[in-house]
């Protein structure tokens, strides 16, 4: 139990996948202009990350390792993630339309979110067992979500202010992200 708590603190705060490792910055900037989209994206990422974490772990241990074709890992993982996203989208549309209405438009974007692929590769590199891999994936996803929602909050306020013309939009967004990331660096003392 204790190790999982340490893992949670590490994945969410100390080694936040976005703010400390710089993974997943495209959707970070793309979907943070309003709180609603940020929350939608955060939920979709957590959801897909856990599913992808499970699927890639299974594929790695029961397909790639036994057949000795680990060199195809990149190819297989990205295909799994892409088809998983597609599948989740179809499934959601049919059976949980209310959820689809909220998350649907974010799902296709997740395929090229490197936070998902990155987290799956990390799970494999860190040699986690199945349960630990799943838990780690969900905490990494939660860390991403928290960072995204925090950022959206700041960004909604920036839009209301006068920003020098050259700095508008993405540029000020990146600088803001830098400061949030700086704030998160304070957590490194915990490790």
């Amino acid at each position: 139990m204790e190790t999982y708590i340490v893992m949670a603190v590490s994945a969410i705060f100390v080694n936040n996948i976005l703010l400390a490792q710089g993974l997943g910055s495209c959707p970070y900037l793309g979907t943070s202009k309003s709180m609603d989209t940020a929350i939608g994206m955060a939920m979709a990422v957590i959801f897909v990350l856990v599913m992808a974490g499970a699927a890639t772990w299974i594929a790695d241990h029961f397909l790639l390792k036994p057949c000795n074709i680990e060199f195809l890992r990149t190819l297989v993982f990205i295909l799994i993630i892409a088809s998983l996203v597609q599948f989740v989208e179809m499934f959601m549309k049919k059976s949980v339309p209310s959820l689809y209405a909220g998350l649907g438009i974010f799902l296709p974007l997740i395929t090229t979110n490197c936070a998902v692929m990155g987290a799956c590769l990390m799970n494999i590199n860190e040699e986690y067992d199945f349960l630990t891999a799943l838990i780690n994936a969900s905490f990494l996803g939660a860390g991403f979500g928290i960072a995204l929602i925090l950022f959206a909050g700041v960004r909604e306020r920036i839009i209301l202010n006068n920003v020098p013309e050259a700095l508008t939009d993405t540029a000020i967004g990146l600088v803001t992200a830098g400061f949030i990331s700086l704030a998160f660096m304070g957590f490194q003392g915990l490790g």
Binding site: S25, F71, L79, G118, A166
Partner: protein, 198 residues
């Protein structure tokens, strides 16, 4: 004809230079540009993948059914990424160790998929090659520039060589994640000051 190819090549270096003009593919930009060397290595690896995937996508553009084109692009890109992994392991192993999981992550770099979708699948082979090469070199240039800023300020070195005297105290934060965000943001703002001729 040759004029338009030159234009496709040149646009990647200035008017549409990723990630400044086309704000895509930020993950490697933020995550690996701790030093110039990393920037150049990552940039060239991405260039290889871009040129390769643009070429193949353009070659197969009439064969690939539109409905599953994204899946096909992804297979093509992943193939080239794995190739780069092998090549880097065989020839520049220390750099491969430094870039670590970011080499396989080229596969989810939106610049590569973006060029396949927006350019290569609609254009013949030569312009697609030029586009890939231009975009790739532009990307390399940007990565090295950001890497240069961060390495000089955060570590006091350029390509591993000391640039300042002993009195210089590096701001370590520049080589960490916050430095990446701020450097990119400020460079982007600077680029915005310089207008693009239409």
């Amino acid at each position: 004809m040759s004029k338009s190819i030159a234009r496709e090549f040149a646009k990647g270096l200035w008017s549409e230079i990723p990630p400044f003009r086309l704000v895509l593919g930020l993950c490697p930009v933020l995550a690996v540009t701790m030093s110039v060397e990393n920037g150049i290595g990552m940039g060239l690896a991405t260039t290889f993948v871009l040129v390769g995937s643009n070429f193949l996508v353009s070659l197969l553009r009439n064969v690939i059914p539109p409905k599953i084109r994204i899946a096909c692009f992804i297979i093509i890109i992943a193939t080239f990424v794995t190739m780069v992994e092998f090549i880097m392991q065989a020839y520049v192993y220390p750099l491969y160790l430094k870039l670590g999981i970011f080499i396989p992550l080229i596969v989810v770099n939106c610049v590569v998929l973006g060029r396949a979708e927006a350019f290569a699948c609609k254009n013949p082979i030569l312009p697609s090659l030029a586009d890939g090469l231009g975009m790739g070199l532009g990307f390399t240039l940007s990565l090295s520039l950001i890497g240069a800023f961060r390495e000089v300020l955060g570590n006091g070195t350029f390509l591993g060589l000391q640039v300042f005297g002993d009195a210089f105290v590096p701001f370590g934060v520049m080589v960490k994640a916050p430095g990446a965000f701020v450097t990119l943001g400020l460079l982007l703002a600077f680029m915005n000051l310089v207008p693009v001729k239409k």
